[in-house]
């Protein structure tokens, strides 16, 4: 086996999406990257797993191989994080700018839904995506529809730099409540606008001074994403989200990045100033005899996911999620083969929304006739998490198989990394898309490299001899 180089500009630990995008970008920019994962597969927390691995992960491998009744195990690619891509979002931009789209195929998510009411009176309706749809939406009464249409038309024409489009509001300081008041929107309308279009998970945004601008940008992202392909604001990679880190890892490798799975980090080496400057590690395949391949290399800096530095991160919340296998589409959703359904917190007496993300064989993540729905929310209590997800389960109809573990801690780094030269990412949060992930990618890049990440035109001037 080839020798590992004695020095790398960047050593990246963990092959989650955040790490793989950064690895890819840094390699394209000419940095010498060593990318390591302790697992035998790419993706870390952002991997997609087959049905056997899922049963085992959730300790449901009792009895006689219960996954066998679900067909070929490799026909299943089940996401561990419930997320979708905004078609006009930043991850899409990065995928296009880096040409990683060459390795992946995307399909639309067929629908975007929101629940109104609860229990037996719950109704599920399409989220109106523009002014025209607002007029046809069953979510609002006649007069409210017109007010909502006016609001959405205004959002569509809004330009942050042009005060003439601000309706006399001072967007730098005003709250979203003032904006809603200006259009006279009812509480139920504010609810679906804020939660199913702006995709806020709590109501905290409403009364925060200066948040109106953020809310409007979020609604615009939703509306523009929706307008791009037509069925929903979301797209999704065939074969599951786990394809995304693999695609960016390939980008990194093409530009010289070195990849090592099955590799444990034994030691982080520090210089006299307390900055990380190297690693000792061991590559050893599962079941391999002997001590494995031990090596040591210098590192200009270290990028890592939180699991590699448990002492340098804090818990900022807990995500509860249940992965459910269905044999039918979700009731009252026009038999959509894929969707997002949001249950706003206020409708079910919670502080955080409940999300349902569903994909199916249309996206090559399971055999025909199956549907994979992930119900998730931020934990509000210390126990009975199953009950917290109950309103979501009620939407699913009969559930063939349910995988639910204890709440997943969400980590964030304690420090920026400028002191110890270790730049740590955040966990994949509870939002339904990757916008916060790309924010984190940009933030880590800024912390580690000292300037902004610009992906547009990234590969231009970096022509590969063979392309």
């Amino acid at each position: 086996m080839d020798e590992i180089a004695s020095e790398y500009d960047v050593v990246v630990l963990g092959t989650g999406l955040t790490e793989c995008v950064l690895s890819g970008v840094l390699s394209v920019k000419g940095k010498k990257v060593l990318h390591i994962d302790r697992n035998d597969h790419y993706g870390g927390e952002a991997a997609s797993v087959n049905i056997e691995a899922l049963f085992k992960k959730y300790g449901k491998n009792t009895g006689d191989e219960p996954w066998k009744k679900y067909g070929r195990i490799n026909d299943w690619n089940i996401d561990l994080v419930p997320k979708l891509l905004m078609s006009n979002g930043e991850l899409t931009n990065i995928l296009v700018s880096t040409d990683v789209t060459r390795y992946l195929e995307f399909k639309q998510i067929a629908g975007s839904f929101v629940q109104q009411g609860a229990g037996s009176r719950a109704t599920v309706a399409k989220v109106p995506s523009d002014a025209g749809e607002a007029l046809r939406s069953p979510l609002m009464g006649l007069f409210e529809k017109r007010r909502a249409r006016n609001f959405l038309e205004w959002v569509g024409s809004f330009n942050g730099n042009d005060p003439a489009t601000h309706k006399g509001l001072d967007l730098s300081s005003c709250t979203m409540k003032e904006v809603y008041d200006k259009f006279g929107l009812e509480a139920t309308t504010r609810d679906f606008v804020g939660h199913s279009m702006a995709l806020y998970q709590t109501d905290e945004y409403i009364n925060q001074a200066g948040m109106a601008q953020d809310a409007i940008q979020r609604i615009r992202l939703y509306v523009n994403s929706m307008a791009r392909y037509g069925k929903s604001p979301y797209i999704y990679p065939l074969y599951g989200l786990g394809e995304l880190p693999q695609g960016f890892a390939r980008l990194s490798a093409i530009y010289g990045g070195t990849y090592m799975l099955n590799t444990d980090v034994d030691e982080i080496q520090f210089d006299d100033a307390g900055k990380a400057c190297g690693i000792k590690a061991t590559m050893k395949e599962r079941g391999e005899e002997g001590p494995g391949m031990k090596f040591e290399t210098k590192a200009g800096k270290i990028l890592a996911d939180p699991s590699y530095f448990p002492g340098k991160v804090q818990v900022v919340g807990h995500l509860i999620k249940a992965i459910c296998i269905l044999t039918h589409p979700i009731p009252n959703t026009d038999n959509s083969d894929s969707l997002q359904l949001i249950i706003p917190q206020s409708q079910v007496g919670r502080k955080h929304d409940i999300y349902i993300a569903m994909v199916s064989s249309a996206h090559n993540v399971c055999p025909k006739g199956y549907y994979i729905a992930i119900v998730s929310t931020i934990a509000e209590g210390d126990s009975n998490h199953h009950l917290e997800l109950q309103p979501g389960f009620e939407r699913l109809g009969s559930i063939q198989e349910k995988f639910m573990g204890s709440p997943t801690p969400l980590y964030a780094p304690l420090e920026s990394g400028v002191n110890d030269n270790i730049f740590i990412s955040k966990s994949y949060d509870a939002t339904s898309h990757f916008e916060t992930t790309t924010d984190d990618i940009r933030d880590i890049y800024r912390r580690a490299e000292g300037h902004e990440l610009v992906v547009e035109g990234l590969r231009e001037g970096q022509t590969l001899a063979q392309e």
Binding site: M1, V96, T101, Y103, K107, I235, T258
Partner: protein, 220 residues
């Protein structure tokens, strides 16, 4: 060898099919050199190990009306520490597994890659075994470490196409890829294995497609 394509065009139309081809084999056996000879008709004696043979394409006209386009994926070095991603094998229609006829151990490695392909790739994948660096043996027969008959017998048993090639002199390179093209199921291939250019089943993310309602080429 196993060419079941009929010669001569079909009346009334030409056929065009695109296939994903993956390269496998030990480091330094000449995987990329083989492809660069095929695609660009170039050879470089001192090529460094793989950087950046990202995505090459080459078309072969099998006859007047039949064109096969190969979308060629290189390992990008990810095989070096056994870190190839499942994405690499995903929907591969054909594979070239390369070994070096002057290195005895490289055929064993090639056999391991064939096993890996049979485990990870489509069941009906077409696999070709290429014993590369034929030029070295032509210049000095004592350099041969693997008898052609040994490899040919293994290829027969495993159902692989087999050629000894030289990326340097171009010997058998075109023949190798043409044989693969002839063995590909041009007629009965479903939409998942034949992807005509410009008609990918999903949505097109490129900016120029923005603003279009409905997915381009999406028939869902």
């Amino acid at each position: 060898m196993a060419a079941r394509m009929q010669q001569g065009g079909r009346p009334g139309g030409s056929r065009f099919a695109q296939f994903k081809l993956v390269l496998l084999g030990e480091s330094a056996v000449g995987k990329v050199s083989l492809v660069l000879r095929f695609v660009k008709d170039q050879f470089d004696d001192y090529r460094e190990s793989t950087i950046g043979a990202a995505f090459l394409t080459q078309t072969i006209a099998l006859d007047e009306s039949t064109t096969v386009k190969f979308e060629i994926w290189d390992t990008a070095g990810q095989e070096r520490y056994k870190s190839l991603a499942p994405m690499y094998y995903r929907n591969a229609n054909c594979a070239v597994v390369v070994y070096d006829i002057t290195q005895a151990s490289s055929l064993d490695k090639a056999k391991a890659w064939v096993k890996e392909l049979q485990r990870q790739a489509n069941e009906n994948i077409i696999i070709a075994l290429a014993g590369n660096k034929l030029d070295l043996v032509s210049a000095d027969p004592t350099k041969r470490a693997i008898p052609a008959e040994d490899a040919a017998q293994y290829a027969r048993e495993a159902g692989l196409l087999f050629f000894e090639t030289s990326a340097k002199t171009a010997d058998n390179v075109r023949e190798l890829f043409t044989a693969i093209a002839r063995k590909l199921p041009l007629d009965q291939a479903g939409p998942r294995s034949i992807r005509s250019a410009g008609h990918r089943p999903g949505v097109d993310l490129r900016p120029e497609s923005s603003g279009t309602q409905g997915a381009s080429g999406c028939n869902c």
